[in-house]
Amino acid sequence: MQLARRGDARAFELIYDRHSTAAFSLAYRMCGSTTAAEDVTQEAFLAMWRQGGRYDRTRGSVRTWVLGIVHNRAIDALRRSEVRSRRQAGDQALAERLEAPERTEIEAARRQQAASLRGLIEQLPDEQSKVIELAYFGGFTSSEIARMLDAPLGTVKGRMRLALRKLRAGMDGAELSGARL
């Protein structure tokens, strides 16, 4: 990371190799189309390259930083309405065609971890998983979600908080909080 921050393209290529699958997967999950996900991933990595000096390791891992930038770029794209109309969360058929092969043990472990984490989210009550889905993966604000669900704004915010607290408890129970694959 230090070399990439100083403009070493080779070092940056290693960062791409290590995190591009997770980055593209998140972009696809949010945008629902490969074209939009590619655009978001490309924008995100070029932003990282150009702003590498802004990475602060005291605030989290490189992976967290990468995924945060992808998330922000995807939200920008969603809010520009470029992809929201095309978004189809849960397009499993396409997802299966694109599924990353497990080339290494760490990739297999990441896939297993992702499945475990999805299991935690699926255990949330519907009204809580829905607000998480709309806010985090859909890029909607809590006010927009309140209008969409015809629910009081305070209720929507409360569900978000409760959902995250349950996820936190689930992580602690499953000893996933330290997972940094």
Binding site: R10, Q42, R111, Y136, L167, R168
Partner: protein
């Protein structure tokens, strides 16, 4: 004037929305100010942020499409090359033998060698520094910039010594994102052939790596980084033989 304080429970309830990025900018600011003063909410915020980190990691893992890496690294390599110091020894790497960046760095290189290799081998940029000395027999081809808005400010010419040509440019616009300037040679009635040189500098001297044959034109087009096998756009610069 200070805004009226909200009940504590409103701030606490908004922490989840804050962590999920689902608040308007004004309300985000309010939460940030509140957690600086409220230890309990600050502690909860850290816990909720930890929980939110699992969301991006929970998605099914999908392989990025083929070609995405090449497009991203093409731009990265071109930009890395533009950040390097000027390279004086232009002939060290032949364009036809240019290795991919990954293979080039398969063995350890010094920082200086790395900088030079990136500048020369990857983007094909060759900017000759220092004062030019015109050898006997040098001739200059007139070069036309086809875009009037660019021609109003920029200049270009081609110097030829024997069959070795160098392109001189001044005040070209920056190429668009993920694009480079690419040099071509074209014989009369023939298709343009890549001259082995791409560049993104606005002002400088670029070596034309292929020998310039009698009657050939020198063209420059704007191409997707790191370069194309054939021109995808009309030429921006056309230099005709004298």
């Amino acid at each position: 004037m200070n805004q009226p304080q909200r009940p504590h429970s409103e701030y606490a309830d908004a922490l989840g929305a804050y962590v999920l990025g689902a608040l308007d900018p004004g309300e985000r600011g309010e939460i940030e100010r509140h957690v600086q003063e409220c230890k309990r909410c600050g502690q909860e915020l850290v816990e909720l942020q930890g929980a939110a980190e699992i969301l991006p990691r929970s998605v099914p893992q999908l392989r990025p499409p083929a070609g995405l890496k090449d497009r991203i690294m093409g731009s990265v390599e071109a930009e890395a090359a533009s950040r390097q110091p000027r390279v004086r020894d232009a002939g060290a790497v032949r364009a036809a033998e240019r290795p991919r960046l990954g293979r080039l760095f398969g063995r350890p290189l010094t920082a200086a060698a790395m900088a030079a290799a990136v500048a020369v081998a990857v983007a094909g940029i060759v900017v000759l520094g220092g004062r030019r000395v015109s050898p006997p027999g040098a001739r200059v081809l007139s070069a036309r910039i086809t875009d009037p808005s660019v021609a109003a400010r920029a200049r270009a010419s081609v110097r030829v010594v024997g069959n070795h040509a160098t392109l001189q440019v001044r005040a070209l616009p920056h190429p668009p994102p993920r694009r480079v300037y690419q040099v071509w040679l074209q014989r009369p009635g023939g298709s343009p052939v890549a001259a082995g040189s791409t560049f993104i500098v606005r002002t400088g001297t670029v070596e034309v790596r292929r020998p310039l044959r009698r009657g050939q034109r020198v063209l420059v087009t704007v191409e997707p980084a790191p370069g194309s096998s054939r021109p995808t756009r009309p030429p921006l610069i056309v230099a005709r033989p004298a």
